[in-house]
Structure formats: C-alpha cells, structure tokens
C-alpha cells in the first residue's frame, strides 16, 4: 500500500515535470540559448540513464564515450553515404553501438570493478585511435559535417528539435523504467548483489550481463547520434574522457541504480554548471563539480534522491 502510494507520487512528479518540459518553449519563448541547454541536458539524461542501466547490473563502465561516439559516427556516415534522413540513421547509430557493445561485453563479462573500469576505458581510447586511423571514412582529426535533424531553414527549427529530443528521451526513459521493473531488471540487481548466488538461483549471468551491455550501448549510441545531429558536426572529441565521465558524475550525484537519479543528477549538475559558466568561471566550476562528487560519495552515497528521506529521518529524530 505504502509502496504504491510512493510510486504514484513519483509518477505524478514525473508527469508534472514532463508537462513543464513540454511547455518550456511557451513559457520562456523560443530562446536559442535556453533550448540548446535543454537539448543537451535531455541528451545527457538519456545517456546517463543508459549508463545507469549498466551500473544496475553491477558493471561500472569508464568508457561509455566509445558507444556515444560510435553511435554518432555511424549515424553521420550513414547519412553521408546513403543519404537517408537523420531520423532513420539515429536508430542505425544505436544498433551499431549495441553490436559493438556486445563485442566489448564479451571481453568484459568475467571482469569486475577496476579491471572492468580499466578495460572499458581502454576501449574508448581504442575507438578513438581506430577513428583517427580511418580518415577516409571518418574525416580523421577534422571530423565530419553532419546534417541537422531539422534543417536550419525551418522557422523555429530549434523548437522542433527540442520536442524531438524530448519525446525520444521520454520514450527511452519509459523503456528503461519497464526494463528495471521487469524480470530482467530483477536479474540485473541479483547479479549486482551477488553474482555467485544469482548463478545458483538459475540466472544466466553471462546472458544478462551481455544484455545489459547491449541495451546500455544501444541507448548511448542513440544519445550520441542525437547530440551530433544537434551540433551539426562530429569530431573525435566525442571519445573524450569527459564524455565518459559525465554520466558517472550525473548518476552518482543523482542516485545510482534508480530511474529518477540520472534525471535529477543531470538537471542539478547542468544547472549548476551553466550558472557558474555565466559567472565567467571555467576551471573553478570543474573543481566545484569534482568536490561535489567527492562530498556526495562521502556524505550522501545514495545521491540527491535520498535527500527527502534524510530530511524526514532528521525531523523524526
């Protein structure tokens, strides 16, 4: 009963935030700056939720930029060579990223903790090197110009782009929510808690770990493709360490292994980042974010989502 009540409160909150997000361009007007920030924020909500799904199965990746970048490059190359509209190729980016995700997952299923972290990090560097080594296909250091999802010539194109990204993100979040609450999600959690016991209980650990890799890589690839079709170009910088680390920062600060954690974390950290940016701070804001991460790991290990509980517990005592 109580659990259902909490769920309904959460659903309501989710619905309200979706409505606010829908009305955003009408409340504040079609501002290029605001909508750009929101689009990037949504892309990263999608991307961090994908990372979170992998973390749910107990696998912390330090190299998700590999999937993000592969998704982006695949989509860009398919658009360029086949002339398909970007809307269709975004899916292709996700599918190819998922394929690579399975391959990487196959090498990673036996690894844990920092071994896994290092190897995934290594794959991001490897993807970067391979991209640079194929300049005919990828444009090398210069990257590729990419067609935008909505042509710039369309009036208020940024608003349509915003709605497109918003709807994609909401669909993906819904799918991730369904996965987390399904048998598959339970299996992921069982594997995270105790791999051996999960195996004893008849869960095919390898299959589920690979599934986690594939699904997570698929959504990361979609996020990458969405981002580059928003920016209109792609360079090897999409494999940067930053791109691998941001989803981790968002998830950890928001709340690991919850559906709302990555959303909350991304919104709060992005808002903080943007407002500090307007202060003219560059390195100071990254120092702040590093400090926040350390403080959260130390004092708020369940992230921002656990703040209401903490306050409640404090008031009760």
């Amino acid at each position: 009963m109580n659990r259902e009540k909490i769920m309904s409160v959460k659903t309501c909150l989710g619905f309200i935030s979706f409505l606010i997000a829908l009305l955003m361009p009408h409340i504040f007007g079609v501002s290029q700056y605001l909508l750009t920030v929101l689009i990037i924020m949504l892309v990263f909500i999608l991307y961090s939720s994908a990372w979170n799904l992998l973390a749910l199965s107990g696998q912390g990746s330090l190299g998700h930029a590999a999937f993000f970048g592969i998704g982006g490059y695949t989509s860009a190359i398919v658009v360029k060579s086949l002339g398909l509209p970007p809307l269709a190729t975004i899916l292709a980016g996700g599918i190819f990223a998922a394929f690579i995700g399975v391959l990487i997952g196959l090498t990673c299923v036996r690894l844990k903790e920092w071994f896994l972290a290092m190897v995934t990090f290594g794959f991001a560097v490897l993807a970067h090197t391979i991209t640079l080594e194929l300049p005919g296909l990828t444009g090398g250091w210069d990257g590729l110009p990419v067609q935008k999802v909505i042509p710039v010539t369309v009036h208020n194109y940024i608003m349509y782009e915003y709605y497109l990204v918003l709807i994609t993100t909401v669909i993906v979040l819904f799918v991730i929510y369904q996965i987390m609450n399904s048998k598959v999600g339970l299996a992921f959690e069982a594997i995270r808690e105790n791999e051996l016991e999960a195996n004893v209980m008849g869960i095919n650990v390898m299959k589920y770990k690979l599934t986690a890799f594939a699904v997570s890589a698929f959504f990361s690839g979609i996020a990458g493709a969405l981002e580059i079709h928003h920016f209109g170009y792609i360079t090897p910088e999409v494999y940067g360490i930053d791109i691998s680390f941001w989803p981790i920062i968002y998830c950890v600060s928001g709340g690991l292994c919850t559906i709302e954690g990555p959303i909350l974390g991304t919104i709060i950290i992005t808002l903080l980042d943007e407002s500090l940016k307007n202060f003219g701070w560059t390195y100071e804001r990254y120092i702040m974010i590093g400090l926040i991460l350390i403080l959260i790991v130390r004092f708020l290990p369940k992230g921002f989502v656990s703040v209401p509980e903490k306050i409640k517990a404090y008031l009760r005592s």
Partner: protein, 303 residues
Amino acid sequence: MDISIFIQILVWGLYAGCIYILLAIGLNLIFGVMKVVNFAHGELLMIGAYVTFWLYSSSGINPYLVVPISTFIMAILGILIERFGFRPIRGTGKLNEIFLSLGLIYLLQNSAALLWTTNSRTIHSPYSDILVPLGTIKLPLDYIIIIIATILFLIAFQLFMKKTTIGRAMRATSQNREAAALMGINVERIDMLSFALGSALAAVAGSLWLISGQMVNPYVGSLPAIKAFAVIIIGGLGSIPGAIIAGLILGIAENVVPVIIQSLVAVFNVEMSFTAWKDTIAFLILIIVLILRPTGLFGKKGE
C-alpha cells in the same frame, strides 16, 4: 633496418619503462596495503611535475635538486588525500572508490589548470645538450641519469620494504590486514604512509619525465596512469618484481612494436602510420591478458 636505430629505440623504451615502473610501484603499494586502486594516480604525477616546474622556475637551481622537495610536498598531499578521501569511505564498496578517484581527477586537473594555466610547460635541463657516446650510438645524458636514478630508487625501495620496521609492517598489512592489526601494527598509519610513499613515487616519476624534456599540461596524467595500471595487471597486483619486468616490457613494446609493424607493412607497400597506435598497445596487452586471465598474469586466483 639499422641496428643502431633499433638500440636507440630500445633505450627510449627503457627510459619510458622507468617512468611506468615508478608510477606502477606506487600504485601497487597503495593497492597492496589499502586494496584501493587510485585512478587519480596519474594526476599525482602531473601535480608532482608542476610542483617541480614551479620550484625550478622560481628558484632557478638545477632541476634535479628540486625533485626531493617536490617529492616531499607530494607526500604531504598524498597524506591529505588518504585522510580526507579514501579513509572515510573504506569498506563502502569498490565503485565508491572509483567515483571518489573521478572526483579527485576533476579536482586536481582543474586546480592545476587554474594555478598554472593549460599551456604546456617544459624545463630546460642543464644536461639536455650533452650526448654520451656508447659505441656507435649517442644517448642523451638525461636518459642515462633517469635510468640510473630509477635503478637506485628501486634498490632503496626494496631495502626499505625488506629491512625497515615500517616496510615490514607494510608488507604484513598487505598480506593480512586483520592479522597485522592484531599483531599491534597501526594499520591506519600504514595506510597513510603507503599513500604518502605512493604519491612521492608518482612525483618522482612526473619530475623526471618533465626534466628529461617532456611537456606537462594538466591533462598529461591519465595516459601514464592507465599504462601503470596495465603494468601492474600484467605483472600481478601486489608484486613489485612483476611490476618492474612488466614496466620494462611495456616501455620497450610501445616503442619497438610500431616500428617493427611499420617495417613489416612496408614490405607489402602499404602506407599506414602506426605511431598513433603507441598509446593503444598498453590497452591491447591489457585486454588480451584480462581475457585470458581475469585476475592478471601473475595474479592470485579468486582476488
């Protein structure tokens, strides 16, 4: 292929290997004692190099004489990181340690960028023009100093671990923490000291790297750190001799393999540059080793 060029590449690899060994031994010591992998270890190398740069450019004395001072400063920074970072989250899970390291990476990189800007800095070593003739080849004096200094450091480190009380306590703690604590060893102090020693070794590596003519900017730390990690995985977690051998192998492989592949490929008239693969070789070795043995080449089973 000309044999003297080959030897020169070999020496270059030996020199790179020395830096990896210094870094890897520090990382290995911290892992052995605390069972923590500090992903921000490369950032300690970078800060160490910057401190040396800063002391050198403000005093103007021989950069090699500055190294002990910056090593000491970095040891203190290491103590602070251990005391306020890793100690409070001990036992709350491996993922938390990884996240904490990420926070440290952001903190240290951007503090360096704030203090010293992101411009690449170099030090002009007083011996940079001197080449020592060895048979038909000539080697820079700085490389020889670094190789000899590393050997001396390793001997001193080994003696410290084997002969002194603190060194023995460190080995005892890394073998069995509870038993060591029961034997009256203050394991938390040992944690602190090993973190300080690890940071000091990273500072030595960074300073020597800088003095020998390499550039330092706030982002140079991550690659050597990951290579050091590859070294300890190949050599076995907690094994110092393993780290030395693996460090040398990696340093040499990184420099020799691209040249060999390039000369092999040239036979088939394929134009391709393999120098970009230099940084990837460590990962390829790492990935292959971990696929075959998920606990490292010489690692214990069930670790």
